[in-house]
């Protein structure tokens, strides 16, 4: 078990920040980069019946956003588990505390 002040919690937070920053970099590149700043350059390429820049702006970037969130969820769940800060650790004790508290029985 760890608490929120432990060095382990600090390490967890550091890894979390690193993950979030790398995912946000991709988020920035696919939307602001490919679909806005470099849209004209990418429009030189065809992607099926689309100009590629246009496709990124109206389709591709949205698909990337969805993937980014799911990658984040997957990686964070693993990270929570690795540092033992996930909610499986406290589910039992918290519920027990809850049911032992006579006030909570409505």
């Amino acid at each position: 078990m760890s608490n929120s002040h432990s060095p382990q919690a600090k390490a967890y937070w550091k890894e979390n920040i690193r993950l979030v920053l790398s995912l946000l970099t991709i988020w920035f590149l696919v939307s602001f980069g490919m679909a806005i700043l470099f849209v004209d350059v990418l429009d030189e390429f065809r992607f099926f019946g689309f100009k590629f820049g246009f496709w990124m702006a109206q389709q591709g970037s949205i698909y990337c956003f969805v993937v980014l969130i799911f990658v984040y969820v997957y990686r964070m769940n693993k990270l929570d588990h690795k540092y033992e800060v996930d909610e499986d650790q406290d589910q039992f004790t918290a519920d027990e505390a809850y049911y032992k508290n006579p006030e909570s029985e409505k």
Partner: protein, 596 residues
């Protein structure tokens, strides 16, 4: 059996309304906890769907594809802006706010910055942003009712108010959540069916997302988008797949919409309703999937509608135009002036006349409605309100009547679900943030619940008033809602989680700077000096729609500077920040909350 569109629409709308009311009765709220956050027990998948319905408003369902249809590539600001914000929400805000585990955004701001003044500033922003939004939803309800059910707009708004009143006041967040799940299903079905039909008809591909990158089935064998570019250029509009706005403006508008989305209180509050931090993360993912289904279909629909519209109306004789043309003309959303007196509709770039059409009673020589606007000298003879594209699309493409009826029910579902979510946020911020936390700290849970219901009822009446007497500035104030959310809430919440050093002085000065800057820029260009509102006069070429991004940067800068010069926050606040950074204990904080 042969039923007309109107009967079918009555049936579809009636059945869906019946379902919404049934759900409301089944999921009544018994406590403030139920009323504010649905008891914190919403499964993530249901929360994702409810979030999607909450988020996708009349603007997303009715207006967005229409706007894209007229601006082409530049429409991507809405597509990316209104989806990319969910990445920020999922990675930076939702899990931590869930761990914090209270009811509202002002709750977080007030507690984290140990200041009732900060809480009050947040309450004012919440009310402003939410009322702005609600006015737009009620207009959407009015449009659908007046066109498809041929009742007075006012009657339509009263019916809409009645339904929302029933499930929002009775059911609170619990009622709203499960109604929104049903409304999502109705609206997505209603959006996809016509898109699939039209995609099949025009390109032979049943998947609209692929259809608009395919070749046309009219025998020409050219790509749909190439054809559209060619038609647009011929009529003087410029290529559909090329942009008109400057890159810097597109950049800033997209950023303001993304950040604003992540900062909108009625979206944030949905993540308070799930049991765990892990559920908050995954439900943001589900929400974006459900939103993306509509948001990737919309640009396809936009290009289909554009091709269809140009082919149907340009150089068509007015007398032989299909019934939808005259129906929408009767609803004041289409107008035609026969400038060259040939009885045909010439459609090209430029405004046919100045402003919105002002119709006269008399009919013209072809039977068209005459207008009193001053006519422009260009060759364009047609005025089309962008809002009709989605609603008229099934008629333009000649789809079966039941599809048209379905679209009407979908438009209502989109407008009502968002209106309900907003009304709940408004009532919560009055009963909880303003009364319980600032003015009447001693009220019991039961009394607070009565106040919550009362303020929901009052908010509905005010929203209804806006629906019946729509303020002329609704379209302008949408920029406001996002600009304010981007320049106030987002930075304050983000710093509250990611900086332990950020203190009350920094947050308050930051929020006020962001708000004051953004608001005055928008007010100057939109209200005080609208004739000045063009790119030469904008700062760095940033339009009022995108200025929230700059306001956000100022907020960050001022907050950082002020916090370095003032005392750090007390130890218990630092402990609180440490605590919200780890998921462990979210269940406990929820149970703890229940006993308050």
């Amino acid at each position: 059996m042969n039923m007309d569109v109107q009967t079918l629409t009555f049936i579809f709308v009636g059945v869906t309304f019946f379902i919404y009311i049934g759900i409301a009765i089944w999921s009544r709220a018994g406590t403030t906890d139920d009323f504010y956050v649905a008891g914190g027990g919403v499964p993530p998948l249901a929360n994702g769907m409810a979030t999607a319905a909450d988020w996708m408003s009349a603007a997303s369902f009715i207006s967005m594809a229409g706007i894209i249809s007229f601006v082409g590539l530049d429409g991507a600001v809405y597509l990316m802006g209104w989806t990319g914000g969910y990445v920020l929400l999922a990675l930076l805000l939702a899990p931590y706010l869930r761990k914090f585990g209270k009811y509202t955004v002002p709750d977080f701001v007030g507690d984290r910055y140990y200041s009732d003044f900060a809480r009050l500033v947040a309450v004012v922003c919440v009310l402003f942003v939410s009322f702005t939004y609600v006015a737009g939803q009620m207009r959407g309800v009015g449009i659908v009712f007046s066109r498809f059910l041929e009742v007075e707009i006012n009657t339509g708004v009263y019916i809409g108010m009645g339904i929302v009143f029933f499930y929002a006041v009775l059911g609170g967040m619990k009622g709203i959540t499960y109604t929104q799940v049903a409304q999502y299903c109705v609206l997505i079905f209603a959006f996809l069916i016509p898109a699939i039909f039209i995609s099949m008809l025009m390109t032979g591909n049943p998947v609209p997302q692929m259809g608009f990158g395919s070749t046309l089935t009219d025998g020409s064998n050219i790509y749909l988008l190439d054809k559209l570019d060619q038609l647009s250029v011929e009529l003087g509009f410029g290529a559909y797949t090329a942009g008109n706005k400057s890159t810097i403006d597109i950049f800033f508008i997209t950023a303001a919409l993304m950040v604003g989305t992540a900062g909108l209180p009625h979206v944030i509050v949905r993540f308070f309703t799930v049991p765990k931090v892990r559920d908050a993360r995954i439900s943001a993912g589900y929400a974006l999937v459900f939103i993306a289904i509509l948001y990737t279909t919309a640009p396809a629909l936009a290009s289909f509608a554009r091709v269809n519209l140009i082919n149907t109306v340009n150089n068509a004789e007015y007398k032989t135009t299909p019934p939808w043309f005259k129906n929408w003309e009767d609803t004041n959303l289409i107008a035609w002036v026969d400038k060259n007196k040939d009885g045909k509709i010439q459609y090209s770039s430029g405004n046919a006349f100045t402003g919105k059409p002002i119709f006269l009673d008399a009919r013209g020589s072809e039977g068209e409605r005459t207008i009193s606007n001053s006519i422009n000298t260009n060759s364009n003879e047609l005025y089309i309100d962008r809002d009709i594209m989605v609603l008229a699309n099934p008629e333009i493409a000649d789809l079966p009547d039941w599809v048209i009826a379905l679209v009407a029910a979908g438009g209502l579902a989109a407008a009502l679900s968002t209106a309900a979510g907003l009304l709940l946020v408004i009532s919560t911020s009055i009963s909880h943030d303003l009364l319980k936390k600032i003015l009447l700290k001693n009220i019991t849970d039961k009394q607070e619940l009565v106040f919550a219901r009362l303020s929901a009822a009052i908010a509905i009446v005010i929203a209804g008033y806006f629906g019946i007497h729509p303020p002329g500035f609704v379209a302008q104030v949408v920029a406001f809602a996002f600009g304010l959310a981007a320049s106030s809430f987002f930075p304050v919440i983000l710093m509250g989680i990611f900086s332990k050093r950020m203190n009350k002085e920094g947050a308050i000065f930051g929020m006020i700077t962001g708000l004051a800057f953004t608001a005055s820029y928008i007010i100057f260009f939109k209200f005080i000096n609208p004739s000045f509102n063009s790119s030469e006069n904008w700062w760095f070429g940033i339009s009022p729609e995108g200025i929230g991004t700059l306001g956000m940067l100022f907020n960050f800068l001022v907050a950082w500077l002020v916090s370095r010069g003032t005392a750090p926050p007390p130890q218990e606040i630092k402990d609180m920040v440490d605590d919200i950074r780890i998921p462990q204990g979210a269940g406990a904080s929820y149970h703890h909350l229940k006993n308050l």
